[in-house]
């Protein structure tokens, strides 16, 4: 492979506002690039077939299941992971999750929080029905759903009251 072919194959994108690139099979799931290449291990592997939501991240603000998203979909775009919500726990979703001690085991909650953050970007003051519609594909084997719903409402209040601390 000559240099120009190699440059064509390299996928460049932003992750949490930093430049990133990937030079391998473009069908590689974004999840493995984040975890294995970029050491962003906050995003979790759950089912591997987009059924559980543990691997949820944002691409240009829209949530995607990174376990089934080819890294090529991120080319030229901006990826946000749980580490990128904020580095100082100031994001309203992080604050609400801490305040209400939402997780039990916690494994699914980076995905839960990323979906909640995407929802609040679209609907700043969601109803219970809005929350159910958005969050019903994020599974929690510990059954923390009641706290998740309360936390989304609390995050909406925090966001309305001034957003980040």
């Amino acid at each position: 492979m000559d240099l120009s072919e190699r440059e064509e194959r390299v996928i460049t994108f932003q992750v949490n506002s930093k430049a990133a690139s990937f030079d391998d099979d473009p069908s590689t799931p974004l999840l493995w690039v984040l975890r294995d290449n970029l050491q962003l291990t906050g995003t979790k592997y759950g089912c591997g077939i987009a059924r559980c939501g543990a691997c949820t991240v944002h691409i240009d603000g829209e949530q995607v299941r990174s376990c089934v998203t080819p890294v090529s979909r991120a080319a030229g775009r901006s990826v946000t992971t749980i580490e990128g919500l904020s580095s100082d726990l100031s994001h309203p979703v992080q604050r609400a999750w801490l305040e209400l001690q939402t997780p039990q085991c916690g494994y699914c909650h980076s995905g839960q929080m990323m979906t909640a953050a995407a929802l609040l970007n679209k609907i700043p003051n969601p109803t219970d029905a809005d929350i159910d519609d958005a969050m019903s594909a994020n599974l929690c084997r510990c059954g923390t759903y009641h706290r998740i719903r309360a936390s989304v409402h609390r995050a909406a209040e925090l966001k309305a009251g001034g957003g980040r601390r």
């Binding site: 591997g48 077939i49 987009a50 059924r51 949820t56 829209e62 949530q63 995607v64 299941r65 089934v68 998203t69 080819p70 979909r73 979906t115 909640a116 995407a118 929802l119 679209k122 609907i123 809005d130 159910d132 519609d133 958005a134 969050m135 019903s136 594909a137």
Partner: protein
Amino acid sequence: MIRLLFPSMLTAAAAFAQTAQMSSFEAFQKAATVIRHPRCLNCHIPGDQPLVGLNGDGHPMLVKRGTDGQGAPGLRCSTCHQETNGELPHSPPGTKGWQLPTPQNRLAWAGLDDQKLCRGILNVLKKGGQPRDKIADYVNSDPRVLWAWDPGPGREKPSMDRLEFVELIRTWIEKGASCAP
């Protein structure tokens, strides 16, 4: 290879010759067996929850149509569905433009007899100000229609060859787009 191809080419040629003899509505009726394929009807629904599989089960995770046909805020079709089929069993199918019809134009075909289905499709074209032959281009090129013949692992294809289906739609339109037996 020639041995393998020859019988299928003969079958296709015979199907095309048969199509040429059909009336407009006869061609539509045969094409309707594809339009009514359970997997097509999974998204051409009157309600707001898409269906999945050949049995028309409700889409897992209470997925909704949304205001633009692309899902609810926080759970978009593109959250899970990519522009290609997932390779693993039970992983999401995908192609470009994976979404439901919009709530304003639901294109709900389930339960319609041949005549109502025929009129329904023509009405959609009329409402959109589209020429009738647009439907032939649509079934020949729209990624979601093409996907029916490339549905990914574990999913069966329609029983009819894709080009035969396109030819039937073309015959229906070219012979007058009739909805009368």
